[in-house]
């Protein structure tokens, strides 16, 4: 994707959308209504314009070999915010997430209709370079998957692919990425050891560092803490708070406390539908939908 998107550059966006403030004064730019996705926008009392979306999904349907996995999803992800997706297993959270960087393209027999916009442009249009898109929309997987290479090479992999050759540039980039992923202090003395020798939590943070090294704008995280102990989880949650300043984060999680702790917005999905979407505190304290209530009170799924 080209970096000069019409209205999405961080420079002109950030000053206008101060966290928490409503974006009412901005009429020209398309704001988004945060509401329970499947209902009419104005029927939700909480709906209000909160900021500028960096990614937006409109009327998305997806089926795997004819089996529908996503049904008419409408959602917007705001810049420099953390959006959490929750829902019972198999409801389509990962599928939705993987639509955002077109990882679903790899699956045979997948069929997608509807629009997925990044910076106002549909990323499923034929002229879009998928690799460029994935560079801008990074991803961290549920199961940490470092390459069987050294720590340094893991982080340097992406930049190398994208043409960074100079060794000192790479070194600086690796250091910055590892620092941003709060891993630097732990690995600075063994950058050239195998990444597979790291602990699970360290490996996951390495994967985050690796994703940050290509300098994405959006970071998709699919249950990044599900295999980690509470301390490692806490580290990554702290990390997300720090990363928020620079990146937009979309996280899938099974852990509702986690969603409540880290996210600004939360979407609740059920059987391929986005049942409810809104500000996290509202969704957890005063949900609109009966199914949401059931789920977060543990009566369901």
């Amino acid at each position: 994707m080209s970096s000069n998107k019409p209205n999405m550059t961080p420079e002109n966006a950030s000053p206008q959308y101060i966290p928490g403030s409503a974006g009412g004064e901005n009429e020209k730019k398309p704001g988004v209504r945060i509401s329970s996705g499947n209902r009419a926008d104005n029927s939700t009392p909480g709906s209000k314009i909160l900021g500028e979306p960096i990614m937006e999904v409109r009327g998305l349907n997806l089926s795997y070999s004819g089996k529908q996995a996503l049904k008419n999803i409408n959602i917007a992800f705001l810049k420099n915010r953390i959006t959490a997706l929750i829902g019972p297993s198999g409801c389509g959270k990962s599928t939705l997430l993987r639509c955002l960087n077109r990882m679903n393209d790899l699956v045979d027999g997948v069929e997608i209709t509807g629009e997925t916009l990044f910076g106002g442009r549909n990323i499923y249009q034929p002229f879009i370079h998928v690799s460029e898109l994935r560079k801008t929309v990074g991803m961290v997987f549920q199961k940490s998957n470092p390459f069987p290479k050294s720590i340094f090479e893991n982080v340097a992999y992406g930049p190398r692919i994208h043409g960074v050759k100079n060794q000192s540039d790479l070194g600086g980039l690796v250091e910055r990425s590892l620092k941003a992923a709060a891993l630097w202090e732990e690995v600075r003395d063994r950058l050239h050891d195998s990444a597979l020798g790291l602990s699970g939590g360290q490996q996951q943070r390495l994967c985050i560092a690796r994703a940050l090294a290509v300098e994405p704008e959006v970071l998709l995280m699919d249950e990044p803490c599900s295999a980690l102990d509470p301390i490692a989880t806490a580290k990554i949650e702290d990390l997300m708070g720090d990363l928020k300043d620079k990146y937009t984060i979309i996280i899938v999680t099974h852990n509702m406390q986690q969603a409540a702790r880290v996210s600004d917005f939360t979407g609740f999905m059920l059987m391929g539908e986005l049942v409810e979407f809104g500000v996290t505190t509202k969704l957890f304290q005063n949900p609109d939908d009966k199914r949401t209530i059931d789920y977060i009170t543990g009566r369901f799924g």
């Binding site: 960087n101 990882m103 690799s131 994935r134 470092p146 069987p148 992999y157 195998s194 994703a211």
Partner: protein, 525 residues
């Protein structure tokens, strides 16, 4: 149950190797020379080869039921190298101290007693002891003269022949081109004439050297026959009955070295097998260089790029079945496709001046390697595919999610991860290729190759040349040679060598694979 099967296999394999070793390793050991006096007054001298019960004889009678096989040598005198003697016919058996064994360049070994050594017709040493001492002192000089002659023949004269041939081809080329070349032609002919003069000079040098070869050794063989051997026909003189263990060990080492590094003599039944070792190793290496990229690319295509469907399944089944096709079928394909079609085409295009003598249109190490590569291709494809299938999906996704293209992911993630499997495939391919003989026999192996496929003449690597191969050597020596009895130990020795070479090549590949594995699993830059 499975343990039993495993043990059985192990016993079979060790038994096989032990048999080959027992038969092959003793070949170079200089056995003692015995002299047997028989009841009929005959005298036979030679080395003991084996002892067996006379077929059909009564085992209850003590003594006299066994016979022995003796290598009496002196094929030119007696007609055969070996005789069977009934033990009951022997009246006396002893080890004469003055009996010696001479390895000759022709006619095999000679066993006898030295009478005298002469030089230019004059006697220089008389009697067995004097004679042996003198003979041994003369040998290095004689060897040096021979080496000098050989060097001129192979080196200088070889060079002249090579250049003359090249010039003649040049003329032919000009003739094919037609007019306007007469002037050039005259120049080339002058060059050829000049080379002819040089040739005369070199032959004169050889004649000069040959004049030095004046020494002879006169011996008596068992039975009283006298024989005079020119010194230059003597390779080695051994006095096994007076030689101690250390002396014999030295002789053993010397012969082993000759075997490994020398050229064959006497229709391959004696001397060394170096050209065959060279041919075998080179063949396998060329094969590996060809089969690896093709197999790997094919496997990557099948697994990573081709749309998985019936067609790919059919291709896969076909590839797997290719591994079961008899190797001679590949040989026939090699002859028909590589040699006649590709080779013939190359000849017509690039070497018209040499026709009708073929250059590439005949068997050669390149075509044999290609045929073997085809033969082993399925092994490499299958194991590479297995390796690719084992790569965790997460690794590829990680790479793609970082914005790598499919090709970059294949190149930087899948290929390194699949390397150990590729090496495994290569190891299996090498093991199979090193042992194949049938397809080679029709694609370029010969009994005796005039030159190695690698030498000092431009372009140094001569892939069109015919070559020797240990597997074929075994067949040839063991079953095609005029003197099968004499060659039998050589068969075992060569077999052992072939086994060793396969083991070494495979071990080399396994070590490479282990290094790669470690690199794959451990630290890497």
């Amino acid at each position: 149950m499975t343990g039993g099967a495993l043990a059985f296999c192990l016993i079979m394999v060790t038994g096989l190797v032990a048999l080959i070793m027992a038969n092959g390793l003793g070949f170079f050991w200089p056995g003692d020379i015995y002299r047997f006096t028989l009841k009929d007054g005959r005298e036979i001298a030679g080395q003991l080869v084996e002892r067996e019960q006379i077929p059909g004889s009564d085992t209850n009678v003590p003594g006299g039921l066994f016979r022995i096989k003796v290598k009496q040598a002196n094929r030119d005198l007696y007609g055969t190298d070996f005789v069977w003697i009934d033990e009951s016919a022997i009246t006396k058996k002893d080890k004469p101290a003055d009996a010696i064994l001479i390895h000759r360049r022709e006619w095999g070994d000679f066993i006898g007693v030295i009478v005298e050594v002469t030089d230019a017709g004059k006697s220089v040493a008389k009697g067995p002891q004097e004679g042996l001492k003198f003979l041994k002192s003369l040998l290095p000089q004689a060897d040096a003269t021979l080496a000098a002659i050989y060097a001129i023949e192979k080196g200088d004269i070889g060079q002249i022949n090579y250049r003359q041939d090249a010039l003649r081809l040049e003329i032919k080329k000009l003739e094919i081109k037609g007019e306007g070349a007469r002037f050039k032609k005259a120049g080339i002919e002058a060059q050829i004439a000049e080379l002819g003069k040089q040739y005369a000079i070199q032959s004169a040098r050889i004649d000069e050297l040959k004049k030095k070869q004046t020494a002879n050794v006169k011996l008596t063989a068992a039975g009283g026959v006298e024989k005079e051997l020119p010194l230059q026909t003597v390779v080695r003189v051994i006095s096994p009955n007076t030689e101690g263990v250390i002396g014999k060990t030295l002789i053993y080492m010397e012969r082993l070295w000759e075997f490994l590094s020398g050229d064959p003599r006497e229709a391959n039944t004696e001397g060394g097998v170096f050209p065959a070792i060279f041919g075998t190793v080179m063949l396998v290496l060329i094969m590996s260089v060809i089969v690896t990229p093709f197999g790997v690319v094919a496997a990557f295509y099948l697994r990573e790029y081709a749309k998985q469907g019936t067609l790919v399944s059919i291709v896969r089944i076909a590839v797997n079945n290719l591994a079961g096709v008899p190797s001679i079928v590949f040989g026939v394909f090699g002859v028909g496709f590589f040699i006649y079609f590709v080779g013939g085409g190359l000849d017509r295009m690039f070497f018209p001046e040499r026709l009708p003598a073929p250059t590439f249109g005949t068997g050669g190490i390149l075509w044999a390697s290609l045929t073997l590569a085809l033969l082993t291709l399925p092994v490499v494809i299958v194991s590479t595919e297995e390796g690719l299938a084992q790569i965790p999906k997460g690794l590829r996704e990680a790479s793609l999610a970082l914005g790598a293209t499919k090709f970059e992911t294949t190149w930087r993630v899948a290929l390194p991860a699949a390397l150990p499997s590729i090496m495994t495939g290569l190891i299996l391919a090498m093991a199979r290729a090193a042992g194949e003989v049938a397809p080679l026999m029709i694609t370029g192996v010969v009994k005796l190759a005039p030159a190695l496929p690698l030498d000092g003449y431009w372009p140094f690597v001569h892939l069109e040349r015919k070559f020797m191969h240990l597997g074929f050597h075994i067949y040839d020596v063991g079953f095609q040679s005029p003197n099968v009895d004499a060659a039998r130990p050589m068969v075992y020795t060569t077999t052992l060598l072939l086994l060793l070479i396969v083991v070494f090549l495979t071990l080399g590949a396994i070590m490479t694979r282990n290094r790669l594995r470690k690199k794959f699993a451990g630290s890497a830059v």
